[in-house]
C-alpha cells in the first residue's frame, strides 16, 4: 500500500464531508485505488481504514464514533488474516466474513448506481407535465378534499407534542410555606405563656432534612411578620443565640 500521509490527509478530510458511513468510506477507499471490489485485499483495506480511524479520532471524536464498530470489526478481521489459518475455529470463518463485507460493499455500490440511474430518468414536472388545470366532475368528489398521509401523521404528532408539553404536572412542593408557618404560630402562641424558644414551634414530625430547614426558615419569617403585625414580641440575647417568642397578651 503506497499511500502517502499527505494524500491520506486530503482524502480523509474530504471524507468527513462526503462519506455517509463506514461501508461508504471503504467503498471509496477501494475505488480510490481503482480496485475491483471482488478482488479487493481486505487486509489492505483494513489497514487503510484503521489509519483513517486513528486520524479521525484525533480530529473529531464524535464523528469517529460512527466508524468505530466497523473499525473494531476490521481490526479483528485483520488480525485473523495475519494469523495462520489453522487456529481459525470461529463460528464465522474468515472467508465468510470477507465475503460478507464484499457483498455489503457491492450492495451499497449498486444502490448508489441505481439511485443515479433513477434520477437520470425523465421526471414529472421537469421533463414531462401533467394537465395544467384539472376539471372536476361530480363523480370524482373524493378529489374535493386533498389530504395526504403526511398531513395526517404530522397533524397527530403535533397534537401529541403539544399535549405532552401542556399537561405537565408540577409536583407538590415539599417546602414549608410561610403562610402555613404563620397560621401555625398564631394558633400555638395563643395557647402558650411566657418566652418560648422558636425551635419548640417547629413541627417534630418532619424527617426530611430539606423540609426541616425550610420549616425553620419559614417559621422565622412568620415570626417577624407577626411582630410587625403587633401580635408577638421577639428577643435574642446575642449573635447566634436562641430566638425567643412571647405573646403580647401575656405580657
Amino acid at each position: 500500500m503506497s499511500v502517502s500521509l499527505d494524500k491520506n490527509e486530503k482524502v480523509f478530510s474530504l471524507a468527513l464531508d462526503g462519506f455517509e458511513g463506514p461501508i461508504d468510506l471503504l467503498l471509496n477507499l477501494a475505488k480510490e485505488h481503482k480496485i475491483d471490489i471482488s478482488k479487493i485485499s481486505i487486509l489492505n483495506l483494513a489497514e487503510q481504514y484503521l489509519q483513517f480511524l486513528e486520524y479521525i479520532i484525533k480530529k473529531d471524536i464524535e464523528i469517529a464514533a460512527e466508524y468505530l464498530v466497523m473499525g473494531a470489526w476490521l481490526a479483528f478481521l485483520k488480525s485473523k488474516l495475519l494469523l495462520p489459518s489453522k487456529i481459525n475455529d470461529d463460528a464465522m470463518d474468515i472467508e465468510e466474513m470477507s465475503e460478507l463485507l464484499e457483498f455489503q460493499m457491492k450492495k451499497l455500490e449498486s444502490m448508489q448506481k441505481v439511485s443515479k440511474l433513477l434520477f437520470k430518468k425523465h421526471q414529472l414536472g421537469i421533463h414531462f407535465f401533467k394537465r395544467g388545470k384539472a376539471e372536476y366532475f361530480v363523480t370524482n368528489q373524493k378529489f374535493l378534499y386533498q389530504l395526504s398521509l403526511h398531513d395526517l401523521i404530522k397533524s397527530y404528532h403535533q397534537i401529541v407534542i403539544s399535549e405532552n408539553s401542556n399537561s405537565i404536572t408540577i409536583a407538590r412542593s415539599k417546602l414549608y410555606s410561610v403562610d402555613e408557618a404563620s397560621k401555625r404560630l398564631k394558633l400555638l402562641m395563643s395557647k402558650t405563656n411566657g418566652w418560648k424558644n422558636l425551635f419548640e414551634f417547629i413541627p417534630k414530625n418532619i424527617t426530611d432534612k430539606l423540609e426541616k430547614k425550610s420549616a425553620v426558615a419559614s417559621h422565622f419569617v412568620a415570626s417577624l411578620e407577626l411582630v410587625k403585625e403587633g401580635h408577638i414580641f421577639l428577643k435574642q440575647d446575642g449573635y447566634n443565640k436562641n430566638i425567643y417568642l412571647n405573646s403580647k397578651s401575656n405580657l
Binding site: F129, K130, R131, G132, K133, A134, E135, Y136, F137, V138, T139, Q141, K142, F143, L144, Y145, Q146, L147, L149, D151, L152, I153, K154, S155, Y156, H157, I159, V160, I161, E163, N164, S165, N166, I168, I170, A171, S173, K174, L175, K209, L210
Partner: protein, 196 residues
Amino acid sequence: MLNLNKKKDEEFDFNLNKKIVEALIFSSQEPITLTELRKSIINKDLLNEILVSLEKKYSSSGINLFKVNDSYAFRTSPDLCEYLNIEKIIPKKLSRAATETLAIIAYHQPITRSEIENIRGVSLSKGTLDLLLELNWIQPGERKTTPGNPLTWLTSNNFLDHFGLKNITDLPGLDDLKDTGLLEKNKIIFKDNFVE
C-alpha cells in the same frame, strides 16, 4: 428524390411543432395565448395551420380544443355533459380541526366525541364530524357501556383506501417516525430544583 426528402422533412417539421403546441395547451394552467404559442414553437409560420389541424383532431374526441378570444384551451366536450356532470369544484384543504379530529380518531379508535375533545382541548363543532362522515373517512362504532352510552367513532375502509393502507395498524406510529424530524420536541420539564 430530392423533392420527396424535402416533403418528408416538412412533414416532420409540421408534426413536431404540432406536438409542441398540443403539449403546451395541455400543460398550461390558463388558456394559452397565440403570442405565447408563437414564442415557443420553432417554425412560427405553421401556427395557424397547426391550430386548425388540432381543432379537427379533437373535434370528435372526449376533449375539444376551445378558443377564447385569442387563447386556446382543452376542455371536456359539451356532448358528454349528460354523462359527466362537470362542476366547478375548487379543491380545498381540510381544516385544521377536521385534520386533527381525523388523526385522533385514526390513532385512538374507537373513541367518543368527548374523548376527542379532551385530547384536542377544545370542543368539537358539529360540522367537523359531519364533514368527515360525509367524506366517508369515519363511521360510527359501538356505543360505550359507560353512563350515557356515548357513541364511538372509527375510521372507514374508504379511509384506508384513500391513504393506501392495508390495515389500520400499518399507520406509522410514534416509534416508526421518532427520528424523522416530525417529532421535534421542545419540551420543558419542571422539577423541584432544590438540591441540598
